[in-house]
Symmetry: C2
């Protein structure tokens, strides 16, 4: 029997990360209001420490490591935002961080992980089994493996996003009718499902995935965890987890209304919209929920709707190409 | 005798724009803390309605127009953020807006002004006297000319930025030691001088200007309004006013500690820094105060410091070139 976190664990995570993670603002957008006919708010986790929501879960997870295991450190496998979140949380907590990254990952991402204080170990995507490598390092050094989403404390930490959304809307005497989340392994969605379901039980929650990587959308319909047919081939490099997580799906299937899917083209236009109208740098993965709103995947007329912008760590060259994308 | 606004007029402006202008957040930045040795906060007016602080003053000014003059409308002369601020405020208040723009201004800026509801009238920079044109239109139609900075209500409106800064820092039990402002005609600086001097009298205030357009820096030393030697030739197109305003300088000379100057190169690097580390789209003019901090124009070690990011309306092509600028 899996032990699943609850809304109380999200509340506990909120206390744990308070004063370390940023409380990101909730931004209104008259342009989006007029496009959608709804009252739209954006939760820009792009402005979170390390440039994505991943820091919340990582800090909550790493905070639970007892003092006598800190020097042995933690191991993460990620070429992206999870690695940055773990490395930065580790640095703040005095924990050693090891990050396994593919040899062909962009130099900028390797440099960022190293700059955040992580020891970077490269692996070959074709030849090496990274999971086995991580386990070997963990066993050899006594380090803790920190998974990107299928973890009790990671899920609870990500849920603090939703707590803040509901609290900030309540200050405006509003309750969200719908909240949309970019979705990879489902950790952000699961934590927020817990938090929002408790605080605002009638709010509808949606996962948003890129075309071809709609494992959540299909799994919600099937009622069981289905896998994507391919492993790569989307600009949304943060949303390519092969299948919903075991813990995350156990939570999400209870609370999520449904899964939305956006095209690559729609994601590109959403990145350009965020640049032009919102003055925010959003990475493709981070713009998926915004893309769903801009392209009216659900009817939100007259409603109060929130889209989470989950991250902003985009390669400058790629951003330059997307930024001028046709409207 | 000029009638100058006071802190009470800023408080009045804050009430006037409440619920219409956004209360922009105050963002912390561990990266900037570590570079400067200070505790740095950013006030991103890039996230303000219309993408710059100009909306605050424009809305406050236009709100004072009596009902019987609304149909006659307002006239602004601007190719930039002031035009957008006035056009959007006019639309919200049911006022007709006319905007005089140079024939050679970028199509995107003309389209934006038109999209915001303004009637755009083009003039020839070489042949036409735009001030005379604006006056003629105003007389003929009974319209009100809305100056970009040297105006009682415009100044009071811009000061609401500083009120929010002090209020939000107070919630963290902090008082700003120094606040840095990008400076063109001095309206943002003047309004904020009033607000911050009243709420936090010991706070040091600085103007930041691009090299070659340091009329404020020199005027503060001289104790009188001096002019720039050239009229164009900086990426900071919002900071090229020929001389400090009459009203604005009367206020600023009382409260401002001094004028800082940054190079074009430093501004470019600040725009790139904002993209890379802060995930914010900032236009060159809007990045001047950040550039001064990044390049340690003043010693802020151990202090609480705020830099205002005044606007984010940057041409996509230009942004693409700046964004990858060498660190």
């Amino acid at each position: 029997m899996l032990e699943l976190p609850t809304a109380a664990d999200v509340a506990d995570a909120a206390r744990m990360i308070s004063g370390v993670a940023f409380r990101t603002p909730l931004l209104a957008s008259p342009e989006l209001d007029s496009i959608t006919g709804a009252r739209v708010f954006l939760k820009p986790e792009t402005l979170q420490r390390t440039g994505s929501f991943k820091f919340r879960g990582a800090y909550n997870r790493l905070s639970r490591i007892p003092d006598d295991r800190k020097s042995a450190g933690v191991v993460a496998m990620s070429s992206g935002n999870h690695a940055l979140g773990v490395a930065t949380a580790a640095k703040l907590l005095g924990i050693r961080a090891i990050n396994l990254m593919p040899k062909d990952s962009p130099a900028t991402k390797r440099e960022r992980a190293a700059a955040a204080g992580a020891e970077v170990i490269l692996f070959d995507r074709e030849k090496d089994d990274r999971v086995a490598m991580a386990r070997a390092i963990a066993e050899e050094r006594g380090a803790v493996v920190v998974p990107p989403y299928d973890d009790f404390f990671i899920i609870a930490g990500q849920g603090t996003v939703g707590r803040e959304i509901v609290e900030d809307l309540n200050k405006l005497n509003l309750t969200p009718d719908a909240v949309l989340f970019p979705c990879g392994g489902g950790g952000l969605l699961a934590g927020n499902s817990l938090a929002i379901h408790e605080q605002a039980p009638s709010t509808k929650l949606y996962s948003v995935e890129p075309e071809g990587f709609d494992d959540h959308a299909r799994s919600f319909i099937a009622g069981e965890r289905l896998a994507n047919r391919k492993a790569s081939g989307s600009l949304c490099d943060g949303l390519l987890a092969p299948t919903p997580g075991e813990l995350t799906f156990s939570i999400n299937k209870q609370h999520v209304t449904g899964g939305l899917v956006v095209s690559e083209e729609e994601v590109k236009r959403a990145v350009a919209f965020a640049f032009r109208e919102l003055k925010l740098v959003v990475e493709p993965s981070g713009a998926a929920a915004l893309a769903a709103l801009l392209n009216r995947r659900i009817d939100v007329t007259g409603q109060t709707v929130v889209a989470v912008l989950s991250g902003g760590n985009v390669d400058p060259g790629l951003f330059a190409r997307l930024r001028t994308h046709n409207q």
